[in-house]
Symmetry: C2
Subunit: 379 residues, 2 copies
Amino acid sequence: MGFSFEVDKTAEGGGRRGRLRLAHGVVETPVFMPVGTAASVKAVPQSLLEEIGAGGKGAQIILANTYHLYLRPGHELVRRMGGVHRFMSWERPMLTDSGGFQVFSLSKLRKITPEGVEFRSHLDGSKHFFSPEHSMDVQIALGADIAMVFDECVETPATWERTRESMGLTHAWAQRSKDHFELHKHSVPWSQAVGDAFEGKTQSLFGIVQGGMYADLRKESAERLVEMDLPGYAIGGLAVGEPREVTREMIARTLEHLPKDKPRYVMGVGYPDEIEEYARMGVDMMDCVLPTRAGRHGLLFTSEGRLNIKKKEYAEDQGPIDASCGCMVCGRYTRAYLRHLFASGEPLSAVLNSVHNIAFYLDTMERVRGDLAGTGEAS
Amino acid sequence: MGFSFEVDKTAEGGGRRGRLRLAHGVVETPVFMPVGTAASVKAVPQSLLEEIGAGGKGAQIILANTYHLYLRPGHELVRRMGGVHRFMSWERPMLTDSGGFQVFSLSKLRKITPEGVEFRSHLDGSKHFFSPEHSMDVQIALGADIAMVFDECVETPATWERTRESMGLTHAWAQRSKDHFELHKHSVPWSQAVGDAFEGKTQSLFGIVQGGMYADLRKESAERLVEMDLPGYAIGGLAVGEPREVTREMIARTLEHLPKDKPRYVMGVGYPDEIEEYARMGVDMMDCVLPTRAGRHGLLFTSEGRLNIKKKEYAEDQGPIDASCGCMVCGRYTRAYLRHLFASGEPLSAVLNSVHNIAFYLDTMERVRGDLAGTGEAS
């Protein structure tokens, strides 16, 4: 299917320096994946995204959201446009989530049955139905390099009983996702003609471990998914409002039960110090809307902590956002100008703030990869 | 003052191929100047603005708005930041308008006396007073290469008598603008130390011909301003709702009375075919918010006319905005994707649409310059 994962070195704390080979290219891990909700990393032109961060290497892999693209412009339209890579002109690796998280967090009037979820669009109230099979069909039409099994996300907080029940549904849906994916994976919209770059390549389907905030359920969920022998495993249902120590604990207790030779992906985290911490614990992939969403709200990440650009104190500050940042925004613009753009509601504000924040996230992971490459033992 | 204007060739229709030398660089004319209202060409990063259009040459000169920057962040702040070029990190030529047009079109509760205009900010209702002297102080603090005299913009339609009265005020204000500018022009925020790039250079102050829709008043206004011997002349008070034939007629009737060896600037025009037409009539400079404003509303300019990207018919259109456009947007993105971005309210929509439209305007003028260079006689 054109997928492989290699670990070069594993540090004492569990962090691994590795490499994911996907249909659209190679991804050095651990990696942070910027989120392109509706096939656009908000406010950032693809040409800048390709050059962002240390050494001008750009983002290695980005996300797109199945729920959003299903509703608008529609997955069949994206398929006819050649898949999400061609549609948005991003030829590097991509990942789509399953739509599950958005169905549970954004849509209205959900009705969950063992078959799937009926919901109303947050855009126009229209009625839709997502099953594991339908999520696979949508994700295959989008054609990202990595697809995710369709899972139920339990509400927070939830009792052990409720969490275990939900987890059971997630496991059944994971198996159905896998079965349907295996049957239909060759209908991905890339050409797979003999001799072309995608010959013999398909998407890769990752599982999602659930189990809420209960270590025993996390263990059970990990074990059940590992039995399904998927090429990679995500840890879902975290960063949903629980204290950070709980997030860390759940990640640690789940990682113990995931195979060392497969990539591990924590979904929807986090602040820069969190992604660094989890990478050093052995997480290989993470994604989060935070760098772009915070950027649009004027919150900037720096080597000295967070900076709220709307503050009066920056009005005449001629320094860059972060003196030790090498990004194109810090190389050119002052805090005074960025504050002015934000205060004036200029659309350029979101562009520049997002570019800096993504660069900061990518640079953080570049630094962690450097550290991991220099320590530990070859695995 | 670091200013000169040369005309290489003049075509039969009056169009001239020339060159403006300004403190921050050389501008090939005729030229279109994108508008950076609040020290940002809306949604377009400066790095893209430097590369936009045919041959990757970028915008040669941009505008900033005195009224907007006076209110926010304040001209004295911009002065302390080194002037508007350094503030926004744009080292190429710039022009500021006088603030007059915005005072008359945006602000509330204006009270006009021979001394100046009292008005309330459109942002917070606070009370302000602009006189010719104050406009000069603000524009000198901003430090654009070209400043404009403070003028009154008469309402449209206006009677001959009312227009002539207003014109008289504009002439008195032009003289006062010039007198004040000459006294204070050396306090521009650029360094003018011996040996630096700006040694001996100051801003250049252009006059503004008014006279509404009356050819005799336009003639009188042009003659009065020419007597003041300013380095360049603008034609103001057009494109304010009058039919296009009237705009053209007023431009033609004014150009007759402006010196051939000085640059002529028509303010606030227009559609691509208009800027081409006026350039071929002998207008050397034009500015307009249209390429960026239209872009934000999904209206795109092409070699085959206007295109409204929100239309359903583009939903699956794999072609570029304009097959004969060489801009970075047409080189990369499909109409289908651009429609999706617009329909989804993605901030990238404004960025890409604005980049294309500005490129189209700059390319239009590049083509006209090429035509003018190849025709007519050396002047």
